[in-house]
Symmetry: C2
Subunit: 388 residues, 2 copies
């Protein structure tokens, strides 16, 4: 599957044996964890998906890696990322069909979970880089509320957007990991909300939905209701239609400035489409950037009222199945606005599309109320999911 | 003064000669810039004020350094930081009196400016690490609105607070640098607002003010009015009284998690008071942290109304003169809430205290309206300042 950028079986076994010899370190004792290769590890190369950093050895673990180790996790390997967690793909293929993209940028983490190489892995999301690959590979992807996991040692791309997330086999597993890492009240393992109030929302990005997603969302409200949910429909207020473009502006503007060193000193080793995007980022005026951030702040304030009557929004995870081909990682169009809004998002595998590839649905919660979003996702997996 | 953690005169001259040979790169062409040693440089060691990182050589320039170089700046050297930009001091002394602290954590940048070794330097502020050393050393310190300068390659301490800032000889110089870096409309060089509307605010931290600050704030409104400002007095709403503690909570909680690798693998090489603070950070519950962040969000929303009638707030920069002794860097009590509120802050040297050491006053602006805060600071320097 080409899921790993770096994998050293001897070193993995040495970590496991050391854990076997010692006392139980914490709730992750012995758990294998994959780490996306934009996240630093002191004992393995971290290359950020870029030839500029071939063989690069960070001096320290990222905060999120160090904490997982302290709780007993075994770092199984570094998983493939696209170039600097942007769009030029790595070598990973989709385990459901290797002719199709696994999605990106957390490509290796999603593929490794889908192929049962790993139970849990770190990813990062700046546009749709946790939710989209998870949906394409048929696994659970969880982007926490912005700022939930520390970013020291994570290669910064866009400071207002970058979020460390989790790829997992189930919402329960994702909840277990985030609970252990943050000691934050979370999903009581094995339980779910009895009758969640869910608002099905097609979002302003609906024209991007492919036929399989259109069909899915036609049958979704009925299925959720029959499984015991209170189901409503919801449209986002008008200003939310401008959020997708605003996310693109913030992403391009901040990315250019954070990757300034690579852009100025190593431009010829950045792939052409990313180089062009960095140039476009430098051309964005501060005024346009400020306006995009102001719109995001306004919409964040409005959002709490928008779904005050609901536990969660249910929105598409991606336009459709994973596209054929490995030259691109698919479209984050259904993820961008949620990243900018800083809300928790969880995709769960739901059904399959015309090529038999997975289709997910995405649960959106309130900022800081990740527990409820995970509980709704768990309910979807446990109660609502059609037989695939 | 022990202002530099690393200084290589040959390399500085080589940079300058290369600039002399080439075309003008941009508005910073040939300008010497100091860089606080928590900010990565590819061509000089970056040690974060910690023996753990002795001789550490980053692979890349931080985004803010790369951009300054691209505009023609000469990186003169790395300036001393306290340990990981927290409180255990470095060796720097106060150029106004070497028996007194220069403040921290941007100690070296402030001292180098005060001693006329440099016209401009980068600092960072998480509690009061730009404003306090600037005030203690008698220079201008400018903490931009949160997120104004990119943080890629800056050692993360507290993700919700860390802000790259500028130490300078004048508000005009600081405005010149931020304009060049961000291409954001800023202070028209050499001009200032003709009659700024200024609200003098003693803040909930007023009990920490020392006699020299009490005296300064007694004569301040009259002096500002005589110089042509419209002057009012303002008290912050009640919830703002809880912000100082909230900043401490966010700082401790995030710092522990970002410095997890250092805490777990190198604990014995972290100085005792910081080690204790990291342990305290791990003990903070997620609920207390979430409550602190929620209070900050609420107060940010209120703040725009609080000083709707004014161009800026005028508040103390520090409790008083730089304390005697080099074992501590002074108290950030008058800076913490503004860092948490994400507003622009500028300290300008104003008068001197009982030991003849500098006293500053701090200008607070609205988030994103750094131009107005800098213009008011310039006005204070040009029009309001008493003869020292």
């Amino acid at each position: 599957m080409h899921a790993f950028a770096h994998l050293d079986p001897e070193h993995v076994l040495a970590q496991a044996r050391a854990l076997d010899r010692g006392a139980v370190r914490g709730p992750l004792h012995g758990l294998p964890l994959g780490v996306k290769d934009v996240i630093d590890t002191f004992d393995a190369p971290t290359e950020y998906g870029s030839p500029i950093y071939r063989g690069h050895r960070p001096a320290a673990d990222a905060g999120c890696v160090a904490r997982a180790r302290a709780l007993g996790a075994v770092i199984l390997g570094k998983t493939v990322t696209t170039e600097f967690a942007t769009f030029p793909p790595g070598p990973t293929v989709n385990p459901r069909d290797p002719a199709h993209t696994p999605g990106g940028s957390s490509s290796g983490s999603a593929a490794a979970i889908a192929d049962c190489m790993l139970p849990l892995a770190y990813g990062t999301q700046t546009s749709g880089s946790v939710i989209r690959p998870a949906a394409f590979c048929g696994v659970v992807g969880y982007k926490p509320s912005f700022g939930t996991l520390p970013r020291n040692g994570v290669k910064l791309l866009a400071d207002s957007l970058d979020t460390v997330g989790i790829l997992a086999c189930s919402a329960e597993d994702a909840a277990l990991l985030i609970s252990a890492l943050t000691a934050r009240a979370s999903l009581p393992i094995g339980q779910s909300v009895p009758a969640p109030r869910l608002a099905v929302c097609r979002t302003p990005q609906w024209p991007a939905a492919q036929p399989e997603t259109v069909a899915l969302f036609e049958e979704l409200p009925g299925r959720l209701a029959r499984a015991g949910a209170y189901v409503g429909k919801l449209e986002l207020p008008a200003p939310f239609a401008r959020l997708e473009a605003a996310q693109g502006t913030v992403w391009e503007y901040e990315m250019a400035r954070n990757l300034a060193d690579e852009y100025y000193r190593h431009r010829e080793r950045i792939r052409e489409p990313l180089r062009a995007q960095l140039a476009a980022g430098w051309a964005i005026t501060a005024e346009r950037y400020d306006a995009a951030k102001a719109l995001a702040r306004d919409c964040r304030r409005q959002l709490a009222d928008v779904f005050a009557d609901y536990d969660a929004l249910i929105v598409p995870s991606a336009p459709g199945e994973a596209p054929r081909g490995l030259e691109a990682t698919g479209n984050p169009v259904f993820n961008r606005i949620w990243t900018l809004l800083h809300v928790p998002a969880v995709t769960v595998p739901w059904t399959s599309g015309p090529h038999g590839l997975p289709l997910g649905v995405q649960v959106i919660g309130r900022v800081g109320d990740d527990a409820r979003a995970l509980a709704c996702a768990h309910w979807l997996q446990a109660s609502g999911q059609p037989a695939v």
